[in-house]
């Protein structure tokens, strides 16, 4: 293999890894806040992809311009899901974990059915945008611009998420995470924090969906292609850890890219799954996990 080709493999893995990290970030955020694994995470991403596709089709505006609109929309959807479904699942006194898993799992199936009803099963793509199908060639290594943009947005999103941690709201989040009962005493509305957390988590995966729609097709089942990797990323990084999600995303992206070169590409996901098992043998709570 030439040096160009090796660099290309590394860069492809890096770009894909950052996307995995961005998809996983929202999942990790919600889990860290309230111990809820959202099994409809992939479907939320799918909703964002359809949203940007529809807005693009109607308005003709570039997905990058539509990004804040979709993020805001997804924030609203996240809050609504919390208010209508999750807050009730949290009140349940029996089988808490089970109820949360299957409430969000039911939601996932519902959203898939809904997308099928509205859009049919057809695969759709955003065919024209500033960056669509454009690449930059740097010394023989090719950089696909939509993925580069997605990576930059990913880094920005992680920056914002970490910055939020330092604001008053972030401290409230942190306090709620640490001790859910005590925060009420110091005047923090737990319910409101949870709702905002869900809004933020959904907006994050919404951003991932918009950036992904720039180079990936949309269909009712598209969430499933990314969801399992997102769960593995979050668990590998450690549930609730932002830095963990970022590091795990990058690791998984690279492992996948390298496995595909060494083994038959149809086995490339075996590499990332094996890494998950191997790491968890030594660190049962993931790379950066506390809970």
């Amino acid at each position: 293999m030439t040096l160009d080709a090796i660099l290309q493999v590394v860069i492809s893995g890096l770009l894909m890894g950052l996307i995995y990290a961005l998809v996983a970030a929202g999942l990790s955020l919600i889990f860290g806040l309230m111990d809820v694994v959202n099994f409809a995470h992939g479907e939320l991403m799918m909703v964002a992809m359809y949203a940007v596709f529809t807005l693009w089709q109607v308005s003709g505006l570039d997905p990058l311009i539509l990004l804040p609109i979709v993020a805001a929309l997804m924030f609203g959807i996240g809050v609504a899901i919390y208010r209508l479904l999750i807050s009730r699942a949290l009140e349940v006194r029996f089988n808490k974990g089970m109820v949360q898993i299957f409430a969000t799992f039911g939601l996932a199936i519902f959203i898939r059915g809904f997308a099928q009803m509205v859009y049919g099963g057809e695969f759709r793509s955003i065919t024209s945008s500033w960056l669509a199908n454009r690449t930059a060639n740097i010394y023989g290594v090719y950089l696909p611009l939509p993925q580069v943009a997605a990576s930059l947005v990913c880094l920005a999103a992680f920056g914002i998420l970490l910055a939020i941690n330092r604001t008053e709201f972030g401290r409230a989040l942190e306090a709620t995470r640490e001790d859910r009962e005590a925060v009420a005493l110091i005047g923090i509305d737990r319910d409101r924090i949870f709702a905002l957390g869900w809004g933020l988590g959904s907006a994050t995966v919404g951003v991932a969906g918009v950036m992904l729609a720039g180079f990936y097709y949309v269909s009712p089942n598209v969430g499933a292609n990314f969801a399992l990797i997102a769960y593995v990323t979050v668990a590998l990084g450690g549930f609730g850890s932002m830095i963990g999600a970022l590091a795990a995303g990058l690791l998984i992206g690279e492992v996948e890219a390298i496995t595909a070169q060494l083994l038959e590409p149809s086995l490339k996901q075996v590499g990332m799954f094996a890494i998950y098992l191997a790491v968890l043998m030594f660190r049962p709570r993931g790379l950066f996990g506390k809970i």
């Binding site: 699942a89 199936i109 009803m117 799954f273």
Partner: protein, 328 residues
């Protein structure tokens, strides 16, 4: 106290015997092939979910990768039947044993993980198994294996169009898994496992050997899941990784127990009796429009049960227990 427990357990046995009689007689009155098929699939998943319940319910280890053991059972019995013509009842047993061995092999590293880390690990192991099966040509790879029809025979468990023998086969399967669960509930193991489920630290201080408990539970659970897989393979007549080893099957094995009531004796059966017919009927009669309405209905049902009946559907009957025997 001791007395009331044994009284309750005896009553459960009686209810089960009554139900068994109902399930033996009712299919005789139904000649329609589609309904009989529905009964077979429902009962099969009731048994599979009961097997899952032994690990997931009683011992509290949420496995979302049980299709791996299901697949081992299906592939082993099929390979033995297609190749050296070994009759499925033998293959079924071999499949069950190998599935149990596989469960131990998976459990050994994974049981040191807890909660969501364990659940994700089971999915990951199942996915690895699925990917390897897709690429393993000796067991048919992605093309799967056709099970040849070798004529009507009880030994081969093959019947041209008759469904009744299968109804009784899966009924036996459900009865055996139920009995095992019933026995576990009253045994020393059952008490130890519930302690592991509720509070690991407390269990350890009580002298419960946690790792060993989990390993026994997973072996029993894996064994019966493998048997179910072998029955399914022989019934459908064709297996491939997508229909046998996929994550979807793993969810379908866990779901009835969750809906019906995790860690309860009747939960898997009740859950399967509601979930499977609803799923099959809605996709038969609403799915043909391709509108996605069947999926929406299915999703709403799961959300509704999760929120409205967190202890599972079995809680609908718990008030009546003792006064009224019927539980399904």
């Amino acid at each position: 106290m001791q007395n009331s427990i044994s009284l309750r357990r005896r009553r459960e046995l009686l209810v089960a015997a009554g139900l068994l009689l109902v399930f033996i007689l009712v299919p005789l009155g139904i000649s329609d092939v589609y309904t009989r098929n529905l009964i077979i699939i429902t009962l099969l998943f009731a048994g599979l979910s009961q097997a899952w319940n032994i690990l997931g319910g009683y011992c509290g280890q949420i496995s979302l990768g049980h299709s791996l053991y299901f697949g081992v059972g299906a592939y082993v019995s099929t390979m033995m039947f297609v190749g050296p013509h070994i009759p499925p009842p033998v293959g079924m047993l071999a499949g069950g044993l190998l599935a149990a061995a596989m469960a131990l092999l998976v459990g050994w590293p994974c049981f040191r993980l807890s909660g969501h880390y364990y659940a994700i690990a089971t999915v990951v192991v199942q996915e690895i198994g699925y990917l390897l099966a897709l690429n393993w040509d000796w067991i048919g790879g992605s093309s799967g294996i056709y099970i040849p029809f070798r004529g009507e025979s009880f030994l081969n468990l093959q019947f041209r169009t008759a469904k009744l023998p299968y109804v009784y086969l899966v009924l036996t399967f459900v009865a055996v898994t139920w009995l095992v669960a019933w026995w576990i509930e009253g045994s020393r193991w059952g008490f130890a496992w519930r302690a592991v489920k509720d509070d690991v630290v407390a269990a350890r201080s009580l002298g419960v050997r946690i790792f060993q408990s989990k390993m026994i539970a997973t072996a029993i659970s894996g064994f019966f899941t493998g048997i179910g897989g072998a029955i399914f393979a022989q019934y459908v007549g064709y297996i491939d990784p997508d229909s046998i080893l996929s994550g979807q099957i793993a969810i379908l094995i866990a779901l009835p127990a969750v809906l019906g009531g995790v860690g309860t004796l009747w939960g898997p059966l009740i859950g399967a009796c509601v979930l499977i017919p609803l799923r099959e009927l809605s996709s038969s009669y609403l799915g043909s429009s391709g509108s996605g309405v069947d999926l929406m209905l299915y999703g709403v049902l799961i959300m509704a049960v999760a929120l409205l009946r967190p202890q599972g559907l079995v809680s609908l009957f718990s008030i009546k227990r003792g006064t009224n025997g019927s539980a399904a």
